[in-house]
Symmetry: C2
Subunit: 474 residues, 2 copies
């Protein structure tokens, strides 16, 4: 049975222990006086490394990647150098981008070439953007001409395209083959790649004509032409298609693999559910980070300067919006000087507006992502307006009563209720409008909507509350 | 080739058009005077419905589900009643929970029984929690005894377990069979279920002993025992395992299907990548909604009262925290009355603290989810503290300079810088501590962390800024 998560954790503890010992032995080796003691420490150190190597043996590259990610930068190198040689390349493939960058940055060129030299063209193509250019050039030359042109072709496709996810390990059958001939072809060839649930049918010009589930092939009579075993309808992609569309199609039609064709309809590769799942995970991780105002993931053990830079753009933007909202308050300084309670209550108006607005934003973004919104969202806007009106009266009322409890002023209480009500209406309108506007501007609504919305509800909340107070309380 | 997303949109437009006509004809039928005209309108109405039925034919249940989700409640019923009878049950399976509830709520019991009556036990088990109890009881009786006990067993597993995702459509081979015998067994049986990339090997007592990729079976010599074709190591799950662990395992080891065994190790079912992907999508959708303070997804066309209720718990919580922060400000009303600029500047201190804290929270939650944090996060806390100290000095300085530009008060400017610096340090500490505390309390850190953190940074921001001002400015 496969190594489970708990096993990985246990291994990690053992490995940390060995690394700890390694550090102690290293420092001893430096400090010891006599040559004899030096030799002893050196031997113990080697023994320790051999033990480390033994612990790493037989682990899946995905687990090795997890172990590397959990270790500080210097320990990562020690462990990486003890990896079974066959696993070094695949472990690099499995690493998260930011951890991979740290490991690759520390390896010597010859170590790097040895580590990735055994990868096939598909894995090498995946890794190439993370490798130094001269190493890519040097290693590309070692591939055959078909692989070399595959490497050039796939490198041309941008991040987030099907071209980046596709692999060339596609098994094609000729339409005019019989099931028996197909089975013999499979027996004679190399083992089938994993995630092979279907074989692709092509005509003499290698144009894609359909696909045949491998389970149908195994059940078919040897003399039946593969074309008669049922050409399943197959969603085909082009390398330039967005990966997000492929992910939706895989999800919607429960696909395991799908063909990729060129502009003429020729079969050139395939994408498989494992890379689609990785893409989905990366996209949703990146979403969560972007929403929180980070440019990307951070290696836990990255240098300080990288972490600081990762957070600055968002903080700068936040400062601009916070100052703008602050200037709105500044307009009403005279009012606040006369009714100081306003300063105490105003953050409540802004905060409840931001919260309801972000609820609307989340629902609109989900509906956009699910393709559920057909028109420009008029019906949705009406519904959100109604909900916010009900919530505005309810919570505005509650807030008004609480404010009265504290300050015993009926007029202040009414102003508070009115401001909360109005800000919730603004929040609903902005909550619908902002994601649509961002999409219309060609941006991902999931990323910027929240900051724009909070800016609107803060500014509007302060303005309406203090404005109403100026008119009715002074 | 499969219907693409654009095709679905085109179909949806045609269908909306037909529904529009349907409404016009319905209203005409009521208003027409003569019997003859009535008949004409009636005929046109029927013609229109036939046309609608024609448009729906041949579509994938997933696409039909998308179309239903995009239509208002009344239109959904009209469309649902024109669906090809074979697709009604599967379309219900494909619907999002909230849309499914609306459709099921509107159907008559006899329509519902007809709609789901043709489903197999796996799909019916999936749907059962959404159906009225009496209909579940009535339909369960129509299944064979094996299926009936399957329905009872799976119903016992809670939401978010492997038991809820598993299917019984597992193909098992006996260890002592030869490849040829296995192929003959497959030929004689029913078509293999989709997502069958591997067959499971069991011994005479039906204990799971491994699995055989179907691609290996097809390549194996007919006389070779299946046991010799390579018992691939197989991750096996129990029905009570959390679905999230299964999802991680599928993702990490690129699985397409995996066996489910009972406590004795007997093979009882399997889970497949399509249900894992659906689970991942649902979980990440729910995450995004919960983070925005919604209890769950909302049907776009749900009644107002449901939408309002969906948003209240969060707004109530928000009100409590906002009032608490407001009371912190209340303590310093005298200070504000003497230096009104403080009221203008204090939201900036709170806001920048909330933003940096949420950046930290996002990174900690990600590291927790990826199992990258081994100890209690001491190293992470140190790093975040350092980052926030650097950011606090930088942005605190910027804010101080800007405040000086507006109010020309050096002491106010220094108080502002100090408060931003201190609030960023608090934000970093809380950003690390809050997710850990929530996890320690057995809650999902992704859900409550942001609201707790913002509460801390708001309160601390107001307190430190106004407190420092009281000490140094008065």
């Amino acid at each position: 049975m496969t190594v489970s998560r708990d096993d990985v954790k246990a291994r990690l503890d053992q490995i940390s222990h060995l690394l700890e010992r390694h550090r102690v032995l290293e420092s001893l080796a430096g400090r010891q006086g006599s040559e004899k003691r030096d030799l002893l420490a050196h031997m113990q150190r080697r023994e320790n490394l051999v033990e480390l190597e033994r612990r790493l043996r037989g682990m899946h590259p995905a687990d090795l990647a997890l172990i590397l990610a959990s270790l500080p930068t210097t320990d990562r190198l020690i462990v990486f150098r003890q990896l079974p040689p066959r696993e070094t390349g695949l472990t690099l493939v499995e690493l998260d981008d930011e951890v991979r960058a740290s490991v690759i940055g520390e390896l010597r060129p010859d170590e790097l070439i040895q580590a990735v030299g055994a990868l096939d063209a598909d894995d090498f193509a995946y890794l190439a953007p993370s490798l130094p250019d001269d190493i890519v050039t040097e290693l590309s030359a070692t591939f055959g001409s078909a692989d070399r042109s595959w490497l050039v072709d796939t490198a041309a496709y941008g991040e987030g395209t099907v071209g980046r996810l596709m692999r060339q390990d596609v098994v094609a059958l000729r339409l005019d083959q019989t099931a028996g001939e197909a089975v013999n072809q499979l027996r004679a060839g190399v083992p089938l790649p994993s995630q092979t649930d279907r074989l692709f049918l092509v005509d003499v010009r290698h144009l894609l004509r359909g696909s045949l589930p491998i389970s149908e092939l195994i059940r078919g009579h040897p003399d039946t032409p593969v074309a008669d075993l049922g050409i399943a309808e197959t969603a085909a992609f082009r390398p330039s298609d967005p990966a997000s569309r492929a992910a939706k199609t895989f999800e919607r039609y429960d696909l395991v693999s799908a063909p990729v064709v060129d502009d003429l309809g020729k079969l050139i590769g395939r994408i498989t559910i494992d890379s689609v799942v990785d893409y989905m995970r990366d996209a949703s991780d990146q979403d969560a980070l972007t929403r929180a105002g980070l440019r990307g993931a951070e290696d836990l053990f990255a240098p300080l300067s990288e972490s600081v830079r990762n957070r600055w753009p968002w903080l700068a933007l936040n400062l601009v919006t916070a100052f703008a909202a602050s200037r709105v308050i500044g307009v009403f300084e005279d009012t606040i000087a006369r009714v100081v309670a306003l300063a105490t209550l105003m953050p409540i108006v802004a905060s409840i507006g931001g919260n309801t607005g972000n609820q609307t934003v989340a629902l609109v973004i989900r509906a956009l992502a699910l393709d559920q919104l057909r028109d420009t969202g008029g019906r949705l806007a009406r519904k959100e307006l109604l909900v916010s009106a009900v919530n505005g009266l309810t919570w505005g009322g509650v807030v008004g009563v609480l404010a009265y409890g504290i300050y015993r002023s009926a007029s202040l209480s009414v102003v508070m209720t009115a401001a909360v009500f109005l800000n919730l209406v603004v929040a609903a309108l902005a909550g619908v409008a902002v994601p649509f506007a961002l999409r219309w501007a060609g941006r991902d609504p999931a990323h910027g909507a929240s900051v724009v919305l909070t800016f609107v509800t803060d500014g509007a909340g302060f303005f309406m509350f203090l404005g109403l107070a100026t008119v009715f309380l002074l």
